[in-house]
């Protein structure tokens, strides 16, 4: 049995509302996220096999956990980002192995790599010119970890599983919306920029099934947006 499509979008809406609440009132937002994780674990407790549904639900659960880590660790930005994305990388790599998912560590269509790198650079420069975000050079060393873990989660785990159950468009839409929600803490303009980057990255992943192309778009966009 598959999750009904409206339930999938309701889960996205739940995450969105929790994130908005987290921005307005962190304590209430934390409570909502804690309830959301509880709901996810409870719904999983009835299942006895690892189907595509359970894989999607587990992947969804990673997001509130990571948001809690990011918001409530009161270290400086470098260590907070490092711990957050280290936890994300650990979970995504573990679930990639556990689910035996072919997330796309392949050489398929590697000839597209220069295009995706140039596209990432162009997106980063455009974003930097329009949004002019605060530059933080110490984050430069963490950008590969950020790009790697985000793309494995949004493309390799979420988009691929949704594509398997529904269709490519739903996979692209849901994974990009989740990326938008995940980056809302940077403010709406930057979140919209990440939504656009995510949509392009998702499109390339959908066409090529090569995760390196998506990682290169994310990495170069972030480098030119935040570090250069």
């Amino acid at each position: 049995m598959q999750i009904k499509k409206y339930l999938l979008f309701l889960m996205v809406l739940g995450l969105f509302l929790s994130e908005i609440t987290l921005q307005l009132n962190p304590i209430l937002g934390f409570l909502l996220y804690a309830i959301l994780i509880c709901g996810v674990i409870t719904s999983l407790s009835h299942s006895d096999t690892l189907t595509s549904n359970t894989k999607i639900i587990i992947s969804f659960m990673i997001l509130p956990m990571i948001r809690i880590v990011e918001l409530f660790l009161t270290f400086d930005i470098f260590w907070r980002t490092f711990i957050t994305y280290f936890a994300l990388a650990f979970l995504t790599v573990f679930y990639t192995i556990k689910f035996e998912s072919d997330v796309g560590f392949s050489r398929r269509k590697t000839s597209w790599l220069p295009i995706t790198i140039l596209l990432g650079i162009a997106l980063g420069i455009i974003g930097s010119l329009i949004l002019n975000p605060e530059k933080n050079r110490e984050l430069f060393y963490l950008l590969p970890l950020i790009a790697f873990s985000e793309e494995i989660l949004f493309r390799g785990l979420i988009q691929k599983e949704i594509k398997k159950i529904y269709n490519s468009l739903d996979g692209i839409l849901v994974s990009s919306l989740l990326c938008f929600i995940f980056t809302l803490s940077y403010g709406l303009p930057l979140a919209l920029f990440f939504l656009a980057t995510s949509l392009i990255s998702a499109f390339f992943y959908n066409k090529t099934s090569n995760i390196w192309l998506s990682i290169s778009i994310n990495l170069f966009a972030n480098i030119f947006l935040f570090a250069m």
């Binding site: 962190p26 407790s45 006895d48 690892l50």
Partner: protein, 62 residues
């Protein structure tokens, strides 16, 4: 038991109760699912431990 006095500060008691609830639900689920959820729970335990320690540390400093 949520400490509303200061934003971003959550009572360690609340974190412990939440974690126990999670552990109980996970323990009641099927073995396959339990094994899958194990690393997520480990990360949650580590995170809650750090948040609770920071909260207690701030209260001692104050």
């Amino acid at each position: 038991m949520i400490n509303l006095a200061e934003v971003k500060e959550i009572s360690p008691i609340f974190l412990t109760v939440t974690l126990i609830v999670y552990l109980m639900i996970v323990e009641l689920s099927h073995e396959k699912i339990r094994k899958s959820l194990f690393p997520a729970i480990v990360v949650l335990i580590a995170v809650f431990l750090i948040i609770a320690s920071l909260s207690v540390y701030k209260q001692i400093i104050r």
